[in-house]
């Protein structure tokens, strides 16, 4: 049997390399996310005071909805899956590697759209340690959920279902992210929200481990 760590890291590197070749995240998803941040104020009003108030919420909604597209990545056809399986890669390692790559891409997406949100909405950057923790947790949670959803929906027409499958499940991440930062600004304790996010990420990780073999083999 192939060592788990080696297989997972190889899969993650493979997925990152594929993204670099395709450039979908850098050329399509990130610009589209920034366009969304740019357009929403045209609909709700462009007053600086209003935008400073709702800006963080808009940012996290954009991260959630567009982040799903980043997390799903590109699904393999059957022949690619067969070839990978016959290298002796454990299905859990395959999905873990994909989730790892998705998490790193999501961090890049969060960073790029985050800078755009700060600049566009003139947001103050406060509570940097909390912000970093929240961004990492959201990226990990969305990466795991998107990977599972991608494996559930498969390639072809099913792939369009993925955002619908993930978005409702990602509510704890959205709530945790906004409430943690809100709580920091208002001086409330944020630890319970962070704990909730950690639980959400852990549950998603458990789902990946339990569901990997049936999802990857069941077709």
């Amino acid at each position: 049997m192939i060592p788990f760590r080696r297989a997972a890291l190889a899969v993650a590197r493979r997925e990152l390399r594929r993204e670099r070749r395709r450039g979908t995240v850098a050329w399509v998803t990130i610009p589209f996310g920034v366009v969304a941040l740019l357009l929403v104020p045209l609909a709700v009003g462009t007053e600086q005071v209003l935008l400073r108030r709702i800006g963080p919420g808009l940012y996290w909604v954009v991260v959630l909805l567009f982040g799903v597209l980043v997390a799903v990545g590109d699904h393999d056809g059957r022949s690619q899956r067969d070839a990978t399986a016959l290298l002796g890669i454990d299905p859990v390692a395959e999905l873990t590697g994909r989730a790892l790559a998705a998490t790193l891409l999501l961090l890049g997406f969060e960073l790029a759209t985050g800078v755009a949100a700060v600049v566009l909405y003139d947001l103050p950057v406060v509570g940097l340690p909390q912000l970093v923790v929240v961004m990492v947790l959201v990226a990990a949670g969305l990466g795991l959920l998107g990977t599972v959803a991608g494996a559930v929906a498969g390639a072809g027409p099913g792939a369009a279902l993925v955002p619908l499958l993930v978005a409702p499940l990602a509510v704890p991440l959205l709530l945790g992210a906004t409430q943690t930062l809100d709580g920091f600004v208002q001086g409330r304790s944020t630890i319970s929200w962070i704990l909730m996010m950690i639980v959400a990420v852990t549950v998603s990780a458990v789902v990946v481990v339990v569901a990997a073999a049936p999802l990857q083999e069941g077709r």
Binding site: G45, E47, Q48, V49, L50
Partner: protein, 131 residues
Amino acid sequence: MRRYAKFLVGAGILVAVLGVLIVNLNDNLVYFQTPTEVVERPAGDARLRLGGQVVPDSVERTATETSFLVTDGRVAVPVRHVGAPPDLFQPGIGVVVEGSWDGETFRSDTMLVKHDENYSPEDPERPFTSP
């Protein structure tokens, strides 16, 4: 070339529609309203942007507020701005303030300094001073 005739017709229609939009959207696309407009069209409690020149000699500063008159040359509106004004704020400069009416005064919480299209040296006598 007949294929491009269709394309040209399409482009022509597009330009015409855009022209109509530009004329008609005028009111909605302006970034701020002038003092004359805000006096003629009372806005109630709604937030709006007001832009014009700061009347020289009308500026009074306190620790937390700045009061001044904003004019478009015809009407002057008293403005009370809460918070520190931008560095470039000075009598005679163009400003856009964001806020709402508080009785007869316009109470602003956001101020943007509007630079005009004229560029002139600090000291017109010595145009070639190096910085």
